[in-house]
Structures are given as C-alpha cells and as structure tokens.
Point group: C2
Chain length 407, copies 2
C-alpha cells in the first residue's frame, strides 16, 4: 500500500484496495505488449449510423423458451453498471409477441366516463407538456424461482425481469384533464394493440398520480418490445399493468376484470383466497457482483455491487452481509436515488479466500424492510409465483466460484 495523500477524496476506502491483481510495470504481461502492437498498427473503423456493442462483449437477454404466445427474456443484470438498463437489454414479457406498429397511423382513444372522448395522434401527444423520469419496470413474476430455497443459479435468471430506463411522455393526468372526467369515474382500463389486446385496469387515484403515456425511452423512441410507439407507464407497479402498444383507455366505474388480471397476476393465498390488484412491487435488492456463476480470480479487494428498488418510493438504506446475515454493514449509495427507480449500491470488501455467504437487504422511505424467504412464506404461503422480494444469498467458495446459496 502506498500512503500518498494527494487525491484522497475518499480516504475511507483507501485501506481496502491494496491491489491484489495489479502488476508492477516492469513485469508487463506479454499479452499487453501484443495488444498494444495490434491496436496501433492499422487505421480503425469509420463512423457508423447507429453504433453497436463491441464484438468482444456477449451481454445478451436470456429467454427460457422463445414463443410468440407466452414469452419473456431477462436482462443480464450481472454485466450491468449504474442505474440505466441499455434499451437493447431491457427485459421483455409479451403475451402474443411484439407487433409492428406504424406511428403515423397509430392512435390513442380515450373514452368512457368522460365529457369529451378524444383520439390522439402521436403528433398530438408529442406537442403536449412532457416529463422525463427514471423508473424501473419489474414483472410481477420476477424471482418466481426464488419461492424455493434452491433459487436460480445466476442473477439474470433470478432477478432479470426488472430493468430501468429514463422514460419520456405525457402525464396521464394531463390527458384525463383534456377529456374531462365524469363524477362516477373511478378506474381506467388500458388496452394494447397486440394480438391479445392485453388489458389491465388501474385505479383512478393512481392514474392521476405519476402515470405516464411514454413515447421515449433512454433518449430515443420506446423500443418495439417495450410498446412502440406508446406505452402506459405505471411507476412502481407490476410490469403487466404498464400496457404496451397502448391504443385505448376507457374510463370506467369499476375494473374490467380482464383476462390478464383474473387468470393471471393474482396471488393465491394458503386459505384458497386470491389477492387481486396487488400492483405495487415492494422494496427489493440483489447483489449483482459477485453473483452466481461469476468467479473471483483471487483473494483481495472486491467491491460488492448491486441494485435496490421500491415501488413505494426511494431506497433509504441498503445493508450488506458477508457472513450469511449474522452481521450487516450499510452499503454506500452514491449517485441517483430516484423514487421507483433502480438505485445502485456499493460496499467495499476484502475477500480473505474463505467461504462467505453474501446478502443484501433494502429499506425504503416508508420504513419497509426487505423480508427473508421464511417471512414471506409465512404470510403468503406457497401457492403464488408473484411478488417475490425475498433477500437473496450468494455463496462465495474457496475456489472463487459463486453459486446460489440456499437461504
């Protein structure tokens, strides 16, 4: 360790680093010399219209069984940094495939219990007052395998049905103000332009809060598999309610009890009753590095990193354990901490080469604390596959390999 004081912006971290891997410059690995020679020998590529990741990168979405009638793909969270999910890696979930919609002919109709039913073109919507906000979307079936202690082997499979983007659009409250709500209005029903006419009902109180009609995602147009050209975005709620390829909003006095809020997306309790409209995704976190199927190449400093989010507000605290939950330390949250958005946490750790079980535990600004699997099973039983926000554990082995830890 050096003891230089210049640049000690973050002195608390100094003791942890210590350079397990970095080599003295005199011992430059032959591969480094080879690379240097290769890269500087030739002129490189010219500019391109629309860039792509390096061919050396193989981050991709993972799909269990690609099928147009009921399919999904998971975000490779272990590969990602920061809070933005690149749009090309945003998880997918569609019930009848991704329709190809021409924005010039697409229309949004708002009708029902309104004073003045209206039809909006994309141009109409883009001229209106807009907002841009970072929000996560999480499928209510994310972490379905985590209802069992033998959870998924990697974080893409265990937590990859969650992603975060900067969304831009019109606030639904502004549109509802334009059409004028009738006194008996209390729900809206949103319908997509996919083959299944995916429909979900949203309580009016929520629809008038921070719900957005989104046409922008991470700067550019919403991606096809995220609802191009128009998506209902219901921040903090289960993903299926953020209806994609949005074509129609009916203002009603009750929910429509549509196929996808009765046959799916309800939570069967031990007594046989089902919870319905359990929309909000509770506070959750997961360590993305080191995580399952990664391998540490030797003892020494490792920054533990992960993501936390809550459908109820902001993340106020994330704790990390390296001993299976016997002791916890507060993780550092540097950078953005938006409501209903991914929040990145970091915690310094010196791996001693021994066996360790890593866990993270999030608390949101309502005071809610992420539960253990045991606590979740106690209240919800074993009959639901939705809304699993248990604490996830990874086991670091002496070999450096990381696996799912039964917990």
């Amino acid at each position: 360790m050096t003891t230089g004081k210049r640049g000690s912006q973050r002195p608390s971290r100094r003791a942890f680093i210590g350079l397990a891997g970095a080599a003295a410059a005199g011992s430059l690995h032959p591969a480094a010399r080879a690379q240097t020679a290769d890269a500087i020998r030739d002129l490189g590529e010219t500019p391109s219209d629309y860039g792509r990741p390096s061919p050396f990168e193989d981050s991709k979405r993972w799909s269990r069984a690609p099928d147009a009638t009921a399919s999904s793909s998971n975000t490779p969270l272990a590969d990602l940094e920061g809070i933005v999910t690149p749009s090309g890696l945003h998880f997918e979930r569609h019930h009848t495939g991704v329709p190809a919609i021409d924005p010039d002919t697409h229309r949004l109709t708002i009708h029902g219990l309104v004073e003045r039913p209206l039809v909006f073109t994309m141009d109409d919507l883009v001229r209106m007052p807009s907002a841009s906000r970072f929000h996560f979307i999480e499928c209510s079936g994310n972490s379905a395998r985590e209802w069992s202690p033998a959870g998924a082997p990697n974080v893409q499979m265990s937590h990859g049905l969650a992603s975060c983007s900067e969304w831009t659009g019109v606030l639904l409250a502004d549109l509802l103000d334009e059409v004028g709500l009738k006194a008996e209005a209390s729900w809206i029903v949103a319908e997509g332009a996919d083959a299944g006419l995916m429909s979900r009902s949203v309580p009016l109180e929520r629809a008038l809060d921070d719900v957005m009609i989104a046409y922008g995602q991470n700067g550019e147009a919403v991606r096809p598999e995220q609802g191009y050209p128009l998506r209902l975005l219901v921040p903090g709620c289960e993903g299926s309610i953020s209806v994609k390829w949005l074509r129609r909003i009916e203002v009603a006095h009750m929910p429509s009890m549509a196929r996808d809020e009765t046959s799916k997306y309800t939570d069967l309790l031990p007594d046989g009753k089902a919870r319905q409209f359990t929309l909000v995704m509770d506070a959750k976190s997961v360590i993305t590095r080191p995580s399952g199927e990664q391998k540490l190449d030797g003892p020494g400093f490792v920054e533990i990193r992960g993501l936390a989010w809550s459908g109820r507000g902001t993340i106020s605290r994330v704790e990390v354990s390296t001993d299976g939950g016997d002791s916890w330390v507060d993780a550092e949250i540097e950078g953005p901490r938006y409501a209903k958005a991914f929040t990145r946490f970091r915690s310094p750790w010196r791996w001693d080469g021994g066996r360790h079980v890593l866990m993270s535990r999030a608390t949101d600004d309502t005071g809610y604390v992420q539960p253990t699997l045991a606590a979740l099973l106690e209240t919800r039983g074993r009959s639901t596959i939705y809304h699993n926000n248990r604490i996830k554990a990874w086991e670091v082995h002496e070999s450096g390999e990381v696996t799912n830890a039964e917990a």
Copy 2:
C-alpha cells in the same frame, strides 16, 4: 377546453394545451382503424438477444465525410428526449478510426513521477471502488459553423457533437493514490491505443478531482467508438481530452505538448496569440424542438424543449424567447440537474401561426450567462473554430417550417 379539476397536478399548464390537433372520438381517422386491424391480426415477434429500434424510426448519426483519418458523426438531438443519449447515437470523433481491442489483453500502465509504476488489467479495475455519474461530452469543435450568423440548418449539424451518458468507472484519484505521486508531479499525460496514439495532457489538480477511468456507459460496456474497453473521462472539458482506448498515463511535471494539443484544440485570438489548454466547455443551451428543418402542422400548443449544459457545474436557469430576444421567460427544469451533464428544459408556448424567432439562454451555478454571437466575436475574434457557446436562434415561419435564424 375542459374544466375538470381532478388530476390538476400541473394547473399552470392547463391554459396552454387546448388540443389543437386531437380529434373527437367520433371522427376517428380511417388510418387509425386500418392500423388497429393490422396490428391485432397476427402474432408478433418473439424475444431477441439484443433489441434494436423500430424499423419505422430513422434516427441516425450524421457524418460529413466518413474517413478513418479524421472523422466525426453527430447525434440527432432533435429526435431525442430526456438527458440520456442512446449509446448507438452518441456522437463520434476519432482521428485514426475506431480500433478493435480485446479487453482480455488490454492493459493500463501508470508510470512517470510515481512511487510505484503499475499495470492494470480490466479485472483489476473492475474489482476496485467504482462510481456511476451522468456527464456530457462535447467536442470543442461543436457548433463550429455557428461562428457565422448563417449557422447550420438543423440542430444535429449545429450542436450534435455533444452527448450525455451515465458513465461508470474508477476515479483516477484512487488509481493515482495506488501508484503514489512524487512531489514534483503536476500534470498527467493520457495516451490512447488507436493508430495515432492520441495524447492529451491534464493538469494534476483536475485529474485528482472528478476524472474517471470509465469502462461502463449507459449500463453496459463503453461502446467501441467511445473508447472500448477504457476511456479517460474528464467531466466538463472538451471531448478530445477524454482520451479513448486508454492504455497509458504518464505522471509528469509539465504537459507533453502533444500533437493534438498544439496543432489542434488551441484558440487563435485576433492578436495572433493562441489560447491553449482552454479545456472547460462553458454554459450552453439549444432548443431541440421546434428546431431547424422540423415543421409544425398547425397553430396551437407546442411545448418548446431543449438541452442545457455547463462544464463548470449545474444549470441554474434557462430562459426562452419567442420574439428574437426582446422578452424572455424562465423555462421549466423538471428532472435531473446534474453537474456537467445535459439538463432538459421545457417551456409551454401557444403558436399563433405567425413568424417567431425562438432562442434559449442558459445560466450556470457560477453565474455565467450564455453569450450572444456578437459578444463572443468581440472577445475571441474570428480566427478560432472552437468553444462556440453562442445563443442559437430558430425561425418559425407562417408555413410552420423552422429554419436557422441569422442572429
């Protein structure tokens, strides 16, 4: 206009909207019916490994003359929303093309006036403490055509050498602390692994501030044309100093006076002297909508939107004029307002169908106010092509067409 009170989250805007375009639902355009029928008839596409924009979108980078020895491409700012530039549309500027670098063999060497020269692998760097921050990068030659009143015809050509990403990496201060600075250290010299060995010098005081060695961009790995796998990121400063494909940092007691900080990137003044190391990009803003070569399809409400940024800190105020600078109103800044990052501003406007000249003017938290072209010419003369942050004007014609306004 309706007068519904429910959902009046933003009452100050109500008077402005009024639905110039939206049609009553009874008058649904035939095209909307056609689209609806098409989209819901067939099952859509299945999930994909890595998504792409809709084929109906044609946002792309624009390159004046693609050439591996001196080329650039511009971001289509008029098409973008929010503050994130999609990585595929981030502007490019490279002097000898984009090298293809294998991250497994890439090394970063830090040497010179240090106690312990070191060579880092990518794994070494990723294990270290990290930070994720939103920062713009702007080429010092951005808006070069704006030194003339007859500026560029659209915002992609006038301002498109600026983009903003969420960057993740190691703080250079942490690395310099590891190698240990000698007392006489006062500059660093960064070198890229492209064919031209692009080199720039950075004052040590700045290097120890918020400079980052970035390996992440908008969640995933830095894109090839942005320096994959490693880029020096010097927030707020002209883009060329954020050396891409970073392979070597030499700690020195003076700048290297490298080719690209002597033959280029200096500002020739009227008296024949040249300003050198004019690194910081001053406060700047531009209206992206409505902007040159767009067309308004009729009078009525239009939200004026644009971007503002400052290399010295945060944007504290943006003013908008719709009468060529005779009067100004404060624009709304909703959402992220990071230091040295794009900041999105919005201003409601009801276009009366007449001729209007639109302008925006940014102020940063140092109190600096974006200047007119006349003021800039007075201090800098007509011999430089760099660091142009003049107020830009767009003219809305009675036809709805928008052009560059000489100002």
